[in-house]
């Protein structure tokens, strides 16, 4: 009986794993900045949201993503709502790709991420710099997008493995 309860708990926890990772990463502003490599940063949340909303849309709720965006804005110190808008646009793109794609293709997804990042970073820069008049480094955005794009395949493999574990547990 105890082992049955334990296995139910594990199944439930496994399905919440992407959500837990999302919130841990926004609370911690997870981007390996502490490695102190100059001009190095990437946006882990973009990769996470892009992968899970594209491949397993039921793992991350849109409302949770909206709340994660608010948390990210408060932690980073930019006006509230900007990250939420960016994450949701990312979700919209993934939903659109899902609707028009019959068989998923990694390379197409990868380049869609690049296109989407260019779009949402442009929106973010317009809002922060031109509307709120907060000075930001455009180069940081370019570098950040570049590294996020380069890191996607690595996290794709990790998330694929994680996804298999989650769905195996669910189907057990």
């Amino acid at each position: 009986m105890a082992s049955l309860n334990k296995s139910n708990f594990l199944k439930a926890s496994a399905s919440y794993l992407p959500l837990i990772i999302l919130f841990i990463s926004v609370f911690n502003e997870f981007d390996f900045n502490y490695l102190k490599i100059e001009n190095f940063s990437f946006n882990f949340v973009y990769i996470l949201v892009f992968y899970w909303t594209l491949r397993n849309p039921d793992s991350l709720g849109y409302f949770s993503i909206f709340v994660a965006g608010i948390v990210n804005d408060v932690v980073v110190g930019i006006p509230i709502g900007i990250s939420s808008l960016c994450y949701l646009i990312l979700c919209a793109v993934t939903a659109y790709i899902r609707n028009i794609t019959l068989s998923p293709n990694f390379v197409k997804d990868w380049f869609s991420l690049l296109f989407t990042m260019v779009l949402i970073n442009s929106i973010q820069v317009i809002i922060i710099d031109l509307i709120f008049l907060i000075e930001i480094s455009y180069m940081s955005y370019v570098v950040n997008s570049g590294f996020t794009f380069l890191f996607y395949p690595m996290f794709f493999l990790i998330f694929n493995a994680l996804s298999q574990i989650i769905y195996q547990k669910k189907n057990d």
Partner: protein, 282 residues
């Protein structure tokens, strides 16, 4: 052609409006909500400000708890590194201590002379200090700031200086009830009126978004003056927020006019939130 456009419209409409089984909200409604939140956060309306402060309070505290394991790991790495470099550090520090002892003798004399001269012109600078703990020091690539555990209930106000030991590290830009946010000198939006010593040149120290600052608003031929010598940057006190003479950083002859801050912003643990009052009364 028409079919292609119809497909696009259907896919687009489905992406924005259709709710999946597990989604309680449609994307469009949440995107509209985000835009409303962005507009509201820009409006200086008291109830909205209270809600904003409430959200900040909850998230700062949660972030502090959530980042504890990561902070612990970072501290552990630093401790191990320090332990490994112990002997090398000891030799460097011993040499530095000798130099400092010699400088201290001269400085004591200059300090007392400075006080005497200030008394002669009846100029006094008083300061109030509040010791604060750094709750969050996330090094975002876009904005450089820290969250402190003191807010309006401890009389923290906008614009107060943040001092680490004797070095200036930033200023308060947002105050909540129990915590506040300080903008670090390294942020792109940070501009501090400063003076370059020993040349005594007035300038503005700007953050770059990286771990160094740059000197702005000086004469064009300034670079020639600074060539081949070490320059110390102090606050000039011109803005009226900071007292003059708080050390900020230095430009070494090898650093290409980049200002290296004296304080390591990634290692801030406790800082002093300081306000200065200027007057001729004692």
């Amino acid at each position: 052609m028409a079919t292609g456009r119809d497909d696009f419209v259907i896919a687009f409409r489905s992406a924005f409006l259709k709710k999946k089984d597990k989604q309680k909200f449609s994307l469009l409604s949440l995107i509209i909500l985000s835009i409303i939140v962005i507009i509201l956060s820009n409006i200086n309306f008291k109830p909205i400000q209270f809600v904003k402060i409430g959200i900040n309070e909850i998230i700062y505290r949660s972030s502090y708890i959530a980042s504890k394991p990561e902070n612990y790991l970072q501290e552990l790495t630093l401790k191990i590194k320090n332990h490994i470099n112990l002997f090398e550090n000891y030799k460097d520090i011993k040499l530095e201590l000798e130099n400092l002892k010699q400088e201290k003798v001269t400085n004591n004399f200059l300090k007392s002379e400075n006080e005497k001269l200030r008394n002669l012109i009846n100029e006094n600078i008083n300061s109030d200090e509040i010791l604060a703990k750094v709750l969050i020091d996330r090094e975002s690539p876009f904005l450089k700031s820290i969250i402190l555990n003191k807010g309006t209930k401890d009389n923290v106000k906008m614009g107060m200086a943040i001092i680490d030991g004797v070095y200036l590290v930033g200023q308060i830009i947002e105050v909540n009830y129990t915590n506040s946010r300080a903008l670090l000198l390294s942020d792109l939006n940070s501009k501090i009126p400063s003076v370059l010593a020993p040349q005594n040149i007035q300038a503005v120290l700007s953050g770059t978004g990286k771990n160094y600052g740059i000197i702005e608003h000086t004469k064009d031929d300034i670079e020639e003056d600074l060539k081949d010598q070490d320059v110390i940057i102090y606050t000039s006190g011109l803005g009226g927020l900071f007292k003059p003479g708080i050390p900020i950083g230095k430009i070494s002859k090898y650093t290409n006019n980049k200002v290296e801050f004296f304080s390591d912003f990634t290692q801030l643990d406790y800082v002093k939130i300081t306000s200065f009052t200027f007057g001729d009364t004692k």
